[in-house]
């Protein structure tokens, strides 16, 4: 290990952190002057608290989103590789002699032309929804179950927790490569174990149904540790005297689970579910790596997007496709968030 390099890397990081701190201080100072001294806003405090995070997110996410939106109205691709002017979506940019603006054509193509070779948008959407529902249900059930088991004084708690967290800790590329090998129809460990109990294992990698099942299995393996850790933390915050009181009142364990545990962890469980749904929906690694044979029945929207758009650098089309995915998820999020009351603040 090179000490000069390490020292300069450390120095650069520390300096950047200092710059961030200073910039935040400057931002807060500015906001203080404007909101407190000048406008005398009553709700200056919350705004000042959330300002740094939002400014950073604006930079990192808002600009790229707007850029993608702009490009989605153009025909930018490998053969028309010019950056369209902003915000007129290439109306005024000439690429190889023609304007790049194509209006809503990409959006129409997303819904009407096959995503890959045969499967259309709605078929792949259905596959993605199925994929998400199966995964999140099992993540929550499994994570909650394990968290409940571990939420007690017992020997070996730390060891169990460290072991169960391993799927999350190991680099995904390698874990998925190992899984793909173990799912091999003849040489994989999964089928060999099944063979020991007399069951002929299916072709996990080439059969459409079993490949989908394999994808779900592996992603459940990957996702349970995360849920477990979140829920374990949530369980910690439930005061013990609630259970005591309930038992004194004669409540059964099922009742105390339904009426104490679940509501008390709901504020933590709900965001975890929402985020779990979003991340599973957009999960690229698992469906991509386990579907090396490119079975269209195993594609989700993002892998379809990747294969269809990125292999040919069809930037305009990919942009429209990405926003279609975004719209679907946004609808879900708005609906679910409102319904689950996740937006309630502690005052309500």
């Amino acid at each position: 290990m090179n000490f000069d390099q390490s020292a300069s890397a450390l120095q650069e990081i520390v300096l950047t952190l200092v710059v961030i701190a200073v910039a935040v201080a400057a931002l807060e100072g500015f906001l203080y002057l404007v909101l407190v001294r000048w406008i005398k806003a009553r709700l200056a405090v919350p705004l000042m608290l959330i300002a740094p995070a939002f400014v950073g997110l604006l930079l990192l996410i808002a600009y790229p989103l707007l850029w993608e939106l702009n490009v989605s109205f153009t025909n930018m691709s490998l053969r028309r590789f010019c950056a369209p002017d902003f915000p007129t979506a290439g109306l005024l940019t000439e690429c190889k002699g023609e304007s790049m603006f194509v209006g809503a054509e990409n959006y129409i193509k997303v819904f009407t032309t096959p995503v890959l070779q045969q499967a259309g948008f709605f078929q792949v959407l259905w596959q993605t929804v199925l994929w998400t529902v199966l995964n999140v249900t099992m993540h929550v059930a499994g994570g909650l179950g394990l968290a409940l088991l571990l939420h007690r004084q017992m020997r070996g708690k730390g060891i169990y927790r460290a072991l169960i967290v391993l799927p999350w800790a190991v680099p995904q590329i390698v874990a998925l490569a190992v899984w793909r090998t173990e799912l091999h129809g003849e040489f994989g460990m999964v089928n060999q174990l099944l063979g020991l109990v007399g069951v002929t294992g299916p072709s996990w990698l080439t059969d459409p149904t079993w490949n989908f099942a394999a994808m779900v299995m592996v992603n459940v393996w990957l996702g349970i540790p995360f849920m477990m850790v979140i829920l374990l933390g949530g369980l910690q915050s439930i005061p013990g005297d609630l259970y005591e009181a309930a038992e004194i009142d004669g409540a059964s364990s099922r009742q105390s689970f339904r009426h104490i545990t679940l509501p008390m962890i709901a504020p933590v469980l709900t965001p975890a579910i929402i985020l779990g749904v979003v991340w599973t929906f957009n999960n690229f690694n698992v469906p991509f790596v386990l579907n090396q044979n490119e079975l269209e029945t195993s594609d989700t929207l993002v892998t379809g997007l990747f294969r269809a758009a990125f292999q040919y650098n069809r930037y305009g089309f990919a942009g429209a496709y990405a926003f279609a995915i975004f719209a679907v998820l946004l609808l879900f999020v708005i609906f679910y968030v409102r319904r689950s009351g996740a937006l309630k603040s502690v005052h309500e």
Binding site: S6, A9, L17, V45, P52, R152, G233, G240, P267, V302
Partner: protein, 305 residues
């Protein structure tokens, strides 16, 4: 039989008693012997399923040949050797990559935690116009597939001269985990009764003083989880690192570094596996030692109804 699926009644009953045994207010009965046996059994199976592929990675790392497939059950392969480990430690820059990853991850996790803890406090304890929209917008940032943002982030970073160095990456990492962290922390804050802070304020503490002295300590498990999550996300992160560090090899984090072992048809499985084991160690160590943070330190019996 897989473990942990469904919500069995037995562990729920145990949970009730368990909450009592872990709370500070009562000693509580211990679970019966059969119950403990069952619980340990289930946990052991879960651990086995979780750990098994990782053990396979270890056996690949110990193999003398550069092979991925092994048609046997052996954990420790024939002629097991530590050559792959030796090669990745001495023959490549893995230690440098690990160090780079460590300093970036620790730094940005702390910054992200600070941003999230303060913002979540605002969302949880205040009502202000745009609050609901703000929360939904935070969630919306998670909706776009990351691969879509690669090209525009690349262009933006080049224009701002943030590529080829750590500047862009530190800023990016500090910010990417924030939406998730805010949501989770807000959820935890919501479970803490606001009466505690109000009581403190009546006793003369300032608003933020109450936050600092009452809410934060009670949220220690949540803060620990958010830090762990930030750490893990930044530690394993590859996409942004690739765009923002580019070809500056001496700045590589480990996900960029181990790409050398992967080629289309000539992956060095032994080296890759050995490197994977080594990069997982800090995470596992972190989890092993995080237990004291994952338990509430302060009694919640402070406010009687």
């Amino acid at each position: 039989m897989t473990s942990g699926t469904g919500i069995p009644v037995l562990p729920a009953a145990a949970a009730g008693r368990a909450a009592r045994t872990t709370s500070k207010t009562a000693g509580g009965r211990r679970d019966s012997f059969q119950k403990r046996l069952l619980i340990h059994g289930v946990l052991m199976i879960a651990s086995l399923i979780a750990a098994f592929p990782v053990v396979r990675v270890l056996s690949i790392a110990l193999r003398p040949t550069n092979a991925l497939l092994e048609r046997e059950f052996r954990l420790i392969p024939e002629h097991a050797t530590l050559d792959s480990f030796g090669h990745v430690i001495n023959g490549t820059s893995l230690p440098q990559w690990l160090f780079n990853s460590l300093i970036i991850t620790v730094g940005t996790s702390l910054v992200g935690l600070v941003f999230a803890a303060t913002s979540a406090y605002a969302f949880s304890r205040y009502k202000f116009p745009g609050r609901g929209i703000g929360l939904t917008a935070l969630l919306a940032t998670q909706l776009i597939p990351a691969t879509m943002l690669l090209v525009p982030i690349f262009i933006l970073a080049v224009q701002l001269d943030l590529t080829g160095t750590y500047r862009g990456l530190v800023i990016a990492y500090s910010v990417t985990s924030v939406p998730f962290s805010i949501w989770i922390l807000k959820g935890y804050y919501d479970t803490v009764p606001i009466e505690l802070e109000e009581a403190a304020r009546i006793d003369g503490a300032s608003q933020l003083g109450a936050f600092w002295r009452i809410l934060l300590p009670l949220s220690a498990p949540a803060l620990a989880i958010v830090f762990l999550f930030n750490f893990l996300a930044a530690w394993n992160e590859f996409v942004l690192a690739r765009v923002l560090i580019g070809s500056t090899t001496e700045l590589f984090t480990w996900p960029l570094g181990i790409l050398r072992f992967q080629a289309q048809f000539q992956t060095q499985w032994g080296d890759l596996a050995a490197a994977s084991i080594l990069v997982s160690i800090p995470i596992v160590a972190l989890f092993l030692y995080s237990s004291k943070w994952l338990i509430s330190g302060v009694t919640l019996g402070g406010v009687k109804g």
